[in-house]
């Protein structure tokens, strides 16, 4: 092997297993919201004013501090970051069993109706169908395009949404990944969700209902803002949507939508819009778990179906109260009747999906691997880095 190839291999082996994670995105959007670099919210004048105000405030605070506190104490770098060592081998946990290897840093994972696992590669251009018992590749398809941003299965048809300037909706056979249809859109598409047998796509200023067999547009519902996040619960037929505006009282709109007819059933506000807003939605039969990145910590809150009422406080110390604290961003996934929470601080827990009460610990997780829970034939699995694990619910929950 040539020296250059050995060098590449050495770097590949030793550079940490990293991916685009929601915590990093939350920090970027939080910083954008606070700065004049924000797309569409910029303005040199505001930047200058902010800098001057910050400098004056800093000077005044510094003088006061020196007057009253004397010597400054050293401040730890990045107090909001928890450093978790990257494991070099698959994690071991009583609740986890390693199944095999899948493409690392997948953009999307989905359990299909015939019990296989769909994995989109890191670039999102390649799809793999794998056997969840041994991670054997059953089918593979190179889609090209801008990368997969969503995947759903309805009525025996697999739908994949690709983002980019001209989003594409691709229809595939869920057992062979053969492409059976495709349509393009001229405007931005954000998210794909299924609920009650209906298929919906987030679009600019609206939700678009698509025929679950043909992909043709059957209904468009104007929402008064662009869709940022979209999640659906198949059993209840509810969709949950966050919009990018209008922002009032420092929070973003959260809507509950009837997937059968597009009617908006309830709306409230969630997330702190001047920071990162809502970063993740997990729909359950009883409501939706909303992850918010606050800049310093992530909060997961529950809003009930039929009204989007914020859940009441539950006495379980700091880890209860209907909230789950973590470092910056946090994500919840509803799989097989349980809520799984992967905390970028390095912990994954199994929780009651109605109350948020902690039922057990799944494992320490490696946050840099962007852990993703997915249900395959009702069985929870987790993809971390390039390793696929099956979760033993009897131990974890």
């Amino acid at each position: 092997m040539k020296l250059e190839d050995r060098l590449r291999a050495a770097i590949d082996t030793h550079v940490e297993d990293v991916a685009a994670d929601e915590a990093a995105w939350a920090r970027i959007t939080g910083q954008l919201a606070r700065s004049a670099h924000a797309p569409g919210h910029g303005g040199r004048r505001r930047l200058v004013a902010a800098v001057v105000a910050f400098a004056l405030f800093g000077a005044a605070a510094g003088l006061l501090w020196r007057s009253f506190a004397g010597e400054r104490r050293p401040v730890a770098d990045h107090p909001d970051q928890t450093v978790i060592p990257t494991p070099s081998s698959p994690l071991t946990s009583r609740a986890l069993r390693s199944v095999g290897q899948v493409p690392r840093h997948s953009l999307a994972v989905l359990g299909t109706s015939d019990g296989s696992l769909l994995v989109a590669s890191f670039t999102g251009r390649q799809l793999l169908l794998v056997d969840p018992s041994d991670a054997r590749v059953l089918a593979q398809r190179d889609l090209g395009g801008a990368g997969t941003i969503g995947a759903e299965e309805t009525s025996g048809v697999l739908w994949v949404l690709q983002g980019g300037d001209t989003p594409r909706l691709i229809r595939l056979d869920p057992t062979t990944l053969a492409i059976t249809g495709m349509r393009s859109f001229t405007s931005v598409a954000d998210g794909l969700a299924a609920g009650g047998g209906h298929l919906w796509m987030g679009a600019e200023g609206s939700l678009t209902e698509l025929d679950p067999i043909t992909g043709a547009t059957t209904r468009t519902v104007s929402l008064g803002g662009n869709v940022e996040l979209l999640a659906g619960d198949p059993s209840s037929g509810r969709l949950y949507v966050t919009l990018d505006g209008p922002v009032r009282h420092n929070s973003s709109p959260l809507l509950e939508v009837d997937a059968t007819n597009g009617a908006v059933l309830a709306h409230t506000r969630a997330g702190q819009a001047d920071l990162a807003g809502v970063s993740h939605l997990a729909a359950t039969p009883d409501g939706v778990w909303v992850a918010e990145a606050t800049g310093m910590m992530g909060i997961l809150s529950f809003y009930t179906a039929e009204g989007l009422h914020a859940s009441k406080a539950l006495p379980e110390g700091r880890d209860g109260l209907g909230l789950v604290y973590g470092t910056n961003a946090i994500a919840g996934s509803y799989v097989g009747g349980h809520l799984f929470v992967a905390n970028p601080g390095g912990d994954a827990t199994c929780r009651n999906p109605r109350t948020g009460k902690r039922l057990g610990r799944v494992s320490p997780v490696n946050p840099s691997t962007d852990p993703r829970f997915v249900g395959v034939a009702g069985r929870p699995m987790i993809v971390m880095g390039s390793t696929l694990y099956v979760v033993d619910v009897g131990i974890a929950c």
């Binding site: 050995r6 050495a10 030793h14 685009a20 990018d244």
Partner: protein
């Protein structure tokens, strides 16, 4: 500014983040930055390009972001060098623990920063010499010579 513009920019930034964040972070780590610093650099790059992202051709975006990352890294290193902190953050210190398991990685960490950057950009990022020269602010000849010396030192170290 129209809300559609804001949305398009945000969507473009998110798409760019999904596609390029991991690769840029790996580049910074390969260049010897500690994990926390690498994250700061790459995240700052995305913040900096946010306002202009819709004016960049998608095919050129990776290159644009890479250039931004290298500039931010260069600025940070300059600032640290001025206040004398860079000496304590030698890349070889950072990689020693990992390097015990791989002589090549250890040897890479022991190279001078410029040689290491040349090798990483040339052979890990697969960039042509001209682009490496532009990113590092040196001539193509310097890239050639630094790469040659870097490879020679790696060979010496791993075959010792």
């Amino acid at each position: 500014v129209k809300s559609e513009d804001v949305h398009t920019s945000r969507s473009s930034l998110r798409a760019a983040f999904d596609l390029h964040y991991g690769a840029l972070l790996r580049l910074c780590l390969a260049l010897g930055e500690p994990r926390g610093d690498a994250e700061d650099i790459v995240q700052e790059a995305f913040v900096r390009v946010a306002s202009s992202i819709d004016r960049v051709e998608p095919a050129a975006l990776r290159s644009y972001l890479r250039r931004t990352v290298m500039n931010i890294r260069h600025d940070r290193r300059s600032r640290l060098a001025k206040v004398g902190f860079l000496g304590g953050r030698n890349v070889s210190d950072h990689v020693d623990g990992v390097g015990e398991r791989d002589a090549m990685w250890t040897a890479l960490g022991r190279l001078p920063a410029r040689q290491r950057a040349c090798l990483v950009l040339r052979y890990y990022e697969d960039l042509p010499e001209r682009e490496v020269a532009e990113l590092l602010g040196c001539s193509v000849g310097t890239v050639k010579s630094q790469s040659y010396r870097g490879l020679a030192r790696l060979r010496e170290e791993v075959e010792r």
